[in-house]
Amino acid sequence: MAIGVTTTPEKSKPSGSIMNDPQVRGIFYQVITVVILVALVYWIADNTIQNLKRANIASGYGFLNGRAGFDVGQSLIAYTSDSTYGRALVVGFFNTLLVAVTGIITATIIGFVVGIGRLSHNWLIAKLSLAYVEVFRNIPPLLVIFFWYSGVLAVLPQPRESAALPLNIFLNNRGIAFPKPVFGDGSQYVFYTFVIAVIASFFLARYARIKQEATGQRFPLLWTVLGLVIGLPLLAFLATGSPITFDVPVAGKFNLTGGSVIGPEFLSLFLALSFYTAAFIAEIVRAGIRGVSKGQSEAAHALGVRPGLTTRLVVVPQAMRIIIPPLTSQYLNLTKNSSLAIAIGYADLVAVGGTILNQTGQAIEVVSIWIIVYLSLSLTTSLLMNWFNARMALVER
């Protein structure tokens, strides 16, 4: 107390009861809340366990090692009815991931095009974009899925009258069948040259940027990269004597056989989620671009930058800072909406999990797996987008 200058004055002892100390009270209420919460969780868990025991229902995750016994229509990994329940769930997980990732990519592209289209000075483009947004964002996603499944894909011709498209692609109500590449001897070189071309393009892009920053000269990057990525593998393909052949779909007894098939279930879900989410992304993009002060593009115009370049180099990078956070929510929505797959029989995590739930009766375990998987998927997406957001954020100097 001898020190004369103190920035924090000595706390005076509370004059009244300890119960009147706001800090003590705060801690008290928090402790009470936590205790009640823990008790509630314990009570539910304990009751559930007792009931499961009483009903003679085995619990635990051991069932995941059992033989599944059912088949799954679409699978990205090897799966037969002899595989385990655990593997069936992995099949479902990959199917969910597939539709989520492809959906996110497509929705982003459509969303950006439509969002920028809404700001177009061209009357027709602006109104078409407006109509698109208003139609798709005002219909429940499930109906959009049904629209694609029953309204568009189901009315396609029967397999025996498949519509033939160019390049041996066939369209019928069992999906799109297209030639499947068969990799013969030497095809690995084609793949290697492709990887080399991609790596080379990466360094080329760096070089082009450094060169432009140093000298102001622009390098024709796009055409060079295209030439590299397509040309090099093509050269390797010809040099090794055309090792890649194609397995073309041909009419079989019931359906086309051979080739690869993308089923209507995946197609409708993918299209529906893409188109639905794109409507929201378009609005986010429009808001983001509107959020960039008009002076920025005017300044760019004054400097003689062309309109297209102004949008790409001046407006969009600044708009991204506004766009990315709400965009993350849309990505999460799309991922979660993919569980609507069950309505049209696409074998996603929920559909496969539901079948397992029914075969084994392990409701609580399966539901917990669903929750954990969707939670992890969403948190991972958030994490990635936050990292991206941090990179795109305005660097203040």
């Binding site: 009751n47 069950i342 539901g354 009766g361």
Partner: protein, 341 residues
């Protein structure tokens, strides 16, 4: 989806909350609330389907009515819970329904690991295949490469996988959760083959846009004994549900019908008298917690097994399914009731 998870969670919570509240005696609960909560199909013509005004009818529905009649002497004291193949087991486990009369196959897994009890088989069924006549398929063994529509979470789905695997046939499963979705997909030509219990195929064929364009293949690839299921741990309730079926069978065997049941009470046959509860000092119903008139009440409400069968799925219905295995044991079938004494 969200709804489904929510339902499951609520189900789980209900199981939890119900822990100490739900007593073992389902009969007392049913009597207290005044009706039987019966889990039925979402709509399978002939077995359980609501009409335009929401009145349920069908083979399984008559079992619900029979149980209600046995308890309340009134076949209308039933509330129906339509369940999909997937929802049915959690519904019974959680106590949402008292009995599941939903053309459910009795398997060892369901009888043990899932915690249910099965005893009487009210319909002996088997899995079959339906195809379009235009495909010129005469046997299931010619189905390699076909797209097969099937309902998820059924024994059908598993039998299908086993059958195609053991015969080295390829197929592409097209799987839906709801029966209506499977129907629509098959009708729209999404798949070449529809597989489910043969009784179901007869019923579903009627709902297709052109029933005559479809045929049911001769192969039966599985045993599908269908019957009502209850939760384990309540022997009295299990007995009641079982004996309702046996009473229906017994009534057919004795020739007791909805029309003549009052008359039959005067039958000189002591077996019939005992069955109908008119024997002196009878304890035929009170021993399982019902009245001695329970069999009479069942027959008054729905008739005997033969009448229930004919009216809903047999000769007197559009389905016209043969009695086959479901004829009485004395008439070449395997429907058989233990003696009522």
């Amino acid at each position: 989806m969200a709804r489904r998870i929510l339902t499951a969670l609520v189900g789980a919570a209900v199981m939890g909350i119900g822990a100490h509240a739900a007593s073992a005696a389902t009969l007392d609960d049913v009597k207290a609330k005044g009706f039987v909560q019966c889990g039925v199909n979402t709509g399978l013509a002939g077995f359980a389907a609501p009409d335009a005004s929401g009145n349920w009818s069908g083979f399984d529905v008559d079992y619900c009515k029979a149980i209600a009649a046995a308890i309340f002497a009134d076949g209308t004291k039933v509330k129906y819970t339509p369940t999909s193949a997937k929802e049915r087991f959690p519904a019974l486990q959680s106590g949402e329904v008292d009995v599941l009369a939903r053309n459910t196959t009795w398997t060892i897994n369901r009888d043990t690991a899932l915690g249910f009890n099965f005893r009487p088989v009210n319909y002996y069924d088997g899995q079959g295949f339906m195809v379009r006549k235009g495909l010129n398929v005469k046997s299931a063994l010619e189905l390699s490469g076909a797209a097969v529509c099937v309902q998820t979470g059924t024994t059908t789905e598993l039998n299908l996988a086993d059958y195609f695997k053991s015969n080295n046939l390829q197929y592409n499963p097209v799987v839906f959760e709801k029966l209506e979705e499977v129907n629509a997909a098959y009708d729209a030509g999404r798949c070449d083959v529809y597989t489910t219990d043969q009784s179901g195929l007869y019923s579903l064929r009627l709902t297709l846009s052109k029933p005559d364009d479809h045929m049911i293949l001769p192969e039966i690839i599985s045993k599908e004994p269908l019957g009502p299921a209850v939760r384990q741990g309540d022997d009295q309730w299990f007995d009641i549900v079982s004996w309702v079926h046996y009473a229906l069978i017994q009534a057919e065997e004795f020739g007791v019908t909805q029309a003549n049941v009052e008359e039959m009470k005067k039958s000189p046959n002591p077996d019939v008298q005992r069955f109908l509860g008119v024997e002196a000092d009878s304890k035929i119903g009170t021993d399982i917690g019902l009245t001695n008139e329970w069999a009479v009440n069942i027959i008054k409400a729905v008739g005997n097994y033969g009448e229930v069968f004919d009216r809903n799925i047999g000769a007197g219905s559009p389905l016209k399914i043969e009695r086959g295995l479901n004829a009485l044991w004395s008439k070449g079938g395997i429907q058989y009731a233990p003696p009522v004494r």
